[in-house]
């Protein structure tokens, strides 16, 4: 029979724990958030710009949005990769270490996919498409 530890057991270094957890979540959710913002803002600016008829100044804004989104996705990936490679601290318990590795692995993969998506969705269309035509 497993004995459940009493509640309120002191957590070791609670502040570092909370920071590490926040970074782990940033790794997983940062890239999609950046992509979502890039998608919505680009779509809004593209539609508004095309309505107003002037694409050229708007294109600078679109490039900027894409670069910021890309930077966030890359940053999240770097953070996740660094944490994933870090040797687990010896005083962490096995479940927490396993969970942290899990989350940081997910962060690396999430970042990778969204970097591709941001580039594909944000940069390639500008190179390929004539801007304000309608099919």
């Amino acid at each position: 029979m497993a004995e459940l530890s009493a509640p309120g057991k002191e957590r070791q270094e609670p502040h570092r724990d909370r920071g590490a957890l926040a970074l782990a979540w940033f790794g997983i959710l940062g890239p999609p958030t950046a992509w979502a913002a890039q998608l919505l803002l680009s779509e809004a600016f593209a539609e508004v710009g095309c309505e107003a008829g002037g694409f050229s100044s708007m294109s600078l804004v679109l490039v900027l949005i894409t670069l910021v989104a890309l930077a966030i996705a890359v940053a999240a990936g770097i953070v996740a990769l660094a944490r994933y490679r870090e040797a687990p601290s010896h005083d962490g318990d096995a479940a927490r270490v396993e969970r942290m590795r899990f989350m940081t692995l997910l962060g690396c993969l999430s970042s990778g996919l969204f970097i591709v998506l941001i580039v594909l969705g944000g940069i390639v269309p500008h190179l390929v498409m004539p801007s304000c035509t309608s099919p």
Binding site: A2, E43, A46, F102, L113, L120, P135
Partner: protein
């Protein structure tokens, strides 16, 4: 022979059989079963609607149905299958399974759970009331204005549809919140996020998607009601409105909705395949992440339903890109499942396993046509033809109903305590698999040959007569297969062999209980040290039994460390009364009576007040 602990728990959690407890129960297992049975009844109704349509389309120029009747049938078929069958059924299954799989005794809010079922039942009856008054919804399942606006749809049909869906959205939202809180706060000690069963991951992501996707639909339906009945101009170009506003709002909901349908199916397949391949799933982190990312990216592709509306090309390409990328996580999952089968021992070819493999075949075909649609030029050629009808049936029937049948067979012994007939199961699988492909594969060709969708008949000049006839024959075969499933279920319920706790030798916690589980679920709070508890741990229980009252254990969000004992509410009729109050509000709105609506609102508020009062300090 029940131990003293078990007897005490039965005393606390047990319910008297009989009508009174039927109306007051908050037991997740009873509510789950209720959802499943009700949703299956709607499945049958949706199937009858489909059968009637295939009968009409079997030959060109047929006159079995009038155009108006045909409109009502295809509108209600889509609405029923999506809103009243598949999502409530997966919700009901989750209701039953998630608390057991995470090792707790009920959902976080049992009364809210009961309430969400009653609303679902009420909304379903509301939507079908249209048939009773000869005014069933007839604007399709996506209801585009101006056709569904006040000028072109003057009858009550579309009011039934939009009010009915607003009504239903209460159930969906509240049910989703319940699932999320259950999964975050009630997992067994040791079940960190890295050890959660993939079915639980799937339901977790699905529930979040419901919370975020329902509001755009509800808002759109409110606007439609206002345009139809109060003279507003949201969708009216002449006054500054825009019909495309509806399309954006609807598809902002509608695309995530198809993943709300698909992800629970993914969760089922990720559970069934490892059991019968007799090894843990290959690539657990990849499958978990794929589930999360599919759910997220699903919110960024909605414009692909609008490629033919004249939007500027640049905007379309953002969504075309995302629509192509979203296939990557799905592909990863397929590879994980295949790898699990290949690297496992010789698989057990049980009925659930057959349906899971059948799903992979059919879903991949549907996914391939889906990627074709991500290409704007191709989409503009075939949209609104039978090619799209083929695609979405492959991903919805193939992608959701096959896993559903896998899951229903898989958990049948656990839920009913009986085993089903494998012979009947295998026959029903082959009939459904073959029938399905005979019904829907020809539709790809029909679409490419120019047959539009949503037509009550077609010209013999199109050259699709034979294909339509073939498709209708296939539909009859599918119907036969489903009838066979029903026979199997009923026969087994009545005279099937009794099932043990774990007939499949599966890994997740629900198989640690008896079949069916007792009212209290687990005798002691289980402790988990890995992803496949029943395969990895000789000893599952702990010394914590929580027998002082109706209590469950609350744990922390990321690592499921024990926090405190949480009191659970007693059974109550208030959820049912509150749901009836809401029903009265919506009926009043449909009939256009402001006094009745106000009165019903006051009565509903009174019931809600009584409900919160009755709980005292207990959340429920």
């Amino acid at each position: 022979m029940a131990t003293a602990t078990e007897a005490r728990l039965e005393e606390i959690w047990g319910e008297e059989p009989g009508p009174a407890s039927w109306f007051t129960t908050g037991d997740h297992k009873r509510i789950g079963k209720r959802y499943i049975v009700t949703a299956l009844i709607f499945f049958f109704l949706g199937g009858v609607e489909a059968a009637l349509m295939r009968w009409q389309l079997a030959q060109p120029g047929a006159t079995h149905l009038t155009p108006e009747q045909y409109d009502e049938l295809f509108s209600m078929h889509g609405t029923t299958m999506i809103f009243l069958f598949i999502t409530p059924l997966f919700t009901g299954l989750a209701n039953y399974l998630v608390p057991l799989m995470v090792g707790t005794r009920d959902m976080a809010f049992p009364r809210l759970n009961a309430f969400s079922y009653w609303i679902f039942l009420g909304a379903g009856i509301f939507l079908y009331a249209g048939f009773a008054v000869g005014a069933a919804p007839n604007g399709g399942w996506f209801a585009y204005p101006p056709m569904t606006g006040p000028i072109f749809s003057p009858g009550i049909n579309m009011d039934i549809w939009s009010l009915g869906l607003i009504f239903l959205s209460i159930s969906t939202t509240v049910g989703a919140i319940n699932l999320i809180v259950t999964i975050l706060k009630l997992r067994a000690p040791g079940m960190t996020l890295a050890r959660m069963p993939l079915y639980v991951w799937a339901m977790f992501v699905t529930a979040w998607m419901m919370v975020l996707a329902m509001p755009p639909l509800t808002y759109a339906n409110v606007l439609l009601q206002l345009d139809r009945n109060l003279g507003t101009h949201f969708f009216d170009r002449a006054y500054g409105g825009d019909p495309l506003l509806w399309q954006h709002l609807f598809w902002l909901f509608g695309h995530p909705d198809v993943y709300i349908i698909f992800l629970p199916a993914v969760g089922i397949v990720s559970t069934v395949i490892p059991t019968f391949a007799r090894r843990p799933i290959v690539g657990y982190p990849y499958v978990a992440l794929a589930t999360v990312l599919t759910g997220i990216i699903a919110f960024g592709v909605w414009v692909h339903h609008m490629f033919a509306t004249g939007l500027p090309t640049l905007g379309l390409t953002f969504f075309a890109a995302a629509s192509m990328i979203i296939t990557i996580p799905s592909g990863v999952q397929v590879f994980a499942w295949l790898a699990t089968i290949i690297r496992g021992r010789r698989p057990v070819f049980s009925t659930p396993f057959l349906f899971a493999v059948g799903f992979i075949v059919v879903f991949v075909i549907g996914g391939v046509t889906g990627v074709m649609f991500a290409s704007v030029p191709f989409d503009q050629g075939v949209t609104d033809s039978y090619f799209i009808v083929a695609h979405f049936h492959y991903v919805l029937f193939g992608g959701a109903v096959f896993p559903l049948f896998a899951g229903l067979h898989y958990w049948f012994p656990k839920i009913t305590g009986r085993t089903y007939s494998e012979t009947l199961g295998k026959w029903s699988f082959w009939l459904i698999f073959v029938g399905f492909n005979v019904t829907f594969f020809p539709m790809h060709v029909m679409g490419l040959m120019g047959m539009p969708r949503r037509v009550y008949t077609y010209s013999p000049d199109l050259g699709v007569d034979g294909l339509n006839l073939l498709s209708s024959i296939g539909a009859a075969v599918v119907f036969g297969g489903i009838v066979l499933v029903a026979i199997n279920a009923i026969k087994s319920l009545v005279s099937g062999e009794r099932a043990g706790a774990d007939p499949w030798g599966a890994a997740t916690l629900e198989w640690a209980t008896t079949s069916p589980p007792p009212h209290y679920g687990f005798g002691s709070i289980p402790v988990v040290t890995g992803r496949d508890p029943l395969w990895e741990q000789p000893e599952l229980g702990s010394d914590l039994t929580l027998t002082d009252g109706r209590e469950i254990l609350g744990t922390t969000v990321t690592d499921a460390e024990p926090e405190e004992a949480l009191p659970m509410p007693e059974a109550s009729v208030l959820p049912l009364l509150t749901a009836l109050g809401f029903a009265a509000v919506f009926v009043s709105l449909l009939l256009g009576s402001v006094p009745a609506a106000l009165l019903s609102t006051l009565v509903t508020l009174a019931f809600i007040g009584a409900w919160t009062w009755d709980l005292g300090g207990v959340p429920g």
